[in-house]
Amino acid sequence: MNFAVPEECTALISALEKLLMQAEATAAPVDGSRSFFSRDLDSALEDSGFLDAAGLEEFGPMAAAMVVQEISSRPVIVEAAHSSFLRALALPEWPRPVAVLTGKFDQATRFLGVARSVVLLGENEARVCRIEGKDTIATAPFFAYPMARLADPAACLARSEVVADAALVRRLLLVATACELSGILKGALFSVTDYVKNRRQFGRAIGSFQAVQHRLAMCASTIAAGEWLARRAAVSGSLEDAVMAAGYLQESTSRILYDLHQFMGAMGLTLEHPLYRWSYRAKLLLSDLGGASRQLRDVAAITWPETA
């Protein structure tokens, strides 16, 4: 047991932080559009190799988990999680950004409009297909991610090839979701924490009210646990750890988002404050791969199998 972050990871994350800070400084101001994609940053992350860490001997899945958590904790929106786990470990030859469709392939999903590969995950097989923007139709920007659906799902399916074991793809996606969600929630928490330290009402910072403090502290405990559950799942490679991490975080998300929005008052409902860039990503991830309902039933079934 050793929770110390290896030096290589620390160096990687500080280099990543620099890149993210530059991107945030030069990013276009929040422009009133609800969904968003930082194309330049996405390319820069790809070019500099941050999204390949999982497959590299000197880094590995722990570094990938930290990379995804760090990127997701920022109010920028890029496709990092699918690439860092699914592409790096199972589909290295396929171009990114990578979008994923599970179950029904005619649904809208995140990053599809900007993706160059789409993974079609059924219960028994995982297929991949190259796509371009013209293969997709953008849908309403309800979530902060860019959302689109396939123009012709049947044609895409026909063109696709079976690439990897569905169970492996599902596990890697669970880890990706857990890392992304934990990063998002942590970023949102610290954004709200900053706000309540500065916003004053009744002659004092609202962050000094105990009702606010205790609920944020509860959020902090859950988010910290989720962060480590996700890291453990990335490193151990066990399905049990992966469903547990994703399930725990998905289960906790609604309560956390309620509190985070609540303590921002009306400001949190605007597109001027970036809270929505975290919260409206998290709202979509709630249902990933069957959501907490499936994950928590699965982890129980794996831990206490029928026959044992």
Partner: protein, 383 residues
């Protein structure tokens, strides 16, 4: 970074598990039903801990000069996990080995070390912790029990409440006030419980028979040599002791094993195919594992010699959440087992769970520490 156990750590765990298998008697589950705070378990600890000590498993993490083996922080923790998984057969003696012994080692005089450490290391000492008072619970600094200097002695007057194990303890780790100054007026005394003027009254409660007590001090004469640490320096010593205690109890392991037993029972009853029950079991399980990882993080920090931080309060809140998740699962799906008494750990687990957000510092106190030290929120109203 590595989330698996090293070879020596696994070997150490196996040693503890083997010991428990061979040394816990057939009627252990009958004794354990009464809970770790009970008179039965305290009595049992006086038979069991000497055997643990002989096997080198009571204080393995203590330095060799005090009877230990210089085991690592992680090994100490593995020991705690397996003890809790079995229902804590060390009873109250976990306190001696976890924090009372180490506190005496660090702050005690040679005479105090000689008097108390060998008995604790042999598994023969039962201590109680005399901190809380009727008007000093969360706000411990407001304690009133007084210790007035009288030549070479102090005379103690006052009362303590909620004192676990006081009915059978031979010594009390007592906090008393030698002057009116808030923190700076508090001292620690090591007081034999058979000193004239001490009386103990058990408090009937929901947390197990004979667990909590009131302790009255009526003109109790204590020699000055029984003071631990310098006069007025108790607060920094307690902070050190409680820093160890805050995350010291791997109760998530007790919750986890109780959850295993609940699921086994649901399987026997043919109810394990109920999807909602499985979902709720998954919820409780993930709460236990969340607590485990946050606690491990703190243990890891401690193993590197880092000072106690707000991370332990983050972890403690997760442990409380896990205790309640498992307890609520049992109450919702197997209420009859609480009266049938067919799952030995169920009642003691419930008794720990209802107290877990209160004993050793209320959950809200932990949340306050997280808010102010981890999230750095302002702690005083600013005008």
């Amino acid at each position: 970074m590595d989330f698996s156990w090293s070879g020596p750590q696994s070997a150490f765990r196996a040693r503890v598990v083997d010991f428990l298998k061979s040394e816990l008697p057939d009627d252990w589950s009958e004794i354990a039903r009464h809970g770790p705070g009970s008179r039965q378990q305290t009595d049992f600890s006086l038979r069991f801990c000497p055997k643990l000590a002989e096997a080198g498993l009571l204080v393995p993490h203590w330095p060799k000069e005090f009877g230990g083996e210089g085991a690592t922080v992680w090994e100490h923790f593995i020991l705690g996990e397996e003890m809790w998984a079995a229902g804590e057969p060390r009873g109250p003696q976990y306190m001696n080995v976890n924090w009372i012994g180490p506190t005496i080692m660090r702050f005690g005089t040679d005479e105090q070390k000689e008097l108390h450490l060998p008995r604790a290391a042999k598994g023969q000492a039962i201590w109680c912790q005399g901190f809380s008072e009727p008007s000093a619970g969360s706000d411990l600094v407001s304690l009133r029990t007084s210790a007035e200097r009288d030549g070479d002695n102090f005379v103690v007057n006052g009362s303590k409440i909620w004192t676990s194990y006081a009915g059978l303890a031979d010594h009390c780790f007592l906090l008393a006030r030698t002057s009116g100054k808030r923190k700076d007026g508090i001292c620690i005394f090591i007081v034999p419980m058979d000193t004239p003027g001490i009386s103990v009254r058990p408090i009937p409660s929901l947390v197990g028979e004979g667990d909590i007590h009131e302790v009255f001090f009526n003109d109790v004469t204590v020699p000055a040599s029984a003071m631990l640490g310098e006069e007025g320096k108790a607060w920094s010593i307690i902070t050190y002791s409680l820093g160890n205690e805050r995350v010291g109890i791997p109760r998530y392991e007790f919750s986890r094993r109780t959850l295993d037993a609940l699921v086994a029972r649901l399987k026997e009853e043919g109810r394990w195919n109920d999807e909602y029950i499985r979902y709720r079991a998954g919820q409780a399980l993930s709460a236990c594992e969340a607590a485990r990882l946050l606690v491990y993080r703190v243990v890891d920090e401690r193993s590197r010699g880092a000072p106690p931080s707000a991370e332990s309060s983050l972890a403690r809140f997760a442990v409380i959440t896990a205790d309640h998740a498992v307890s609520n699962f049992g109450l919702e799906f197997l209420p009859a087992s609480y009266s049938n008494d067919d799952i030995p750990s169920l009642k003691p687990h419930h008794e720990r769970a209802i107290a877990s957000g209160i004993a050793s510092g209320a959950a809200e106190i932990q949340l306050g520490i997280v808010a102010q030290s981890y999230l750095e929120l302002p702690w005083e109203p600013r005008a």
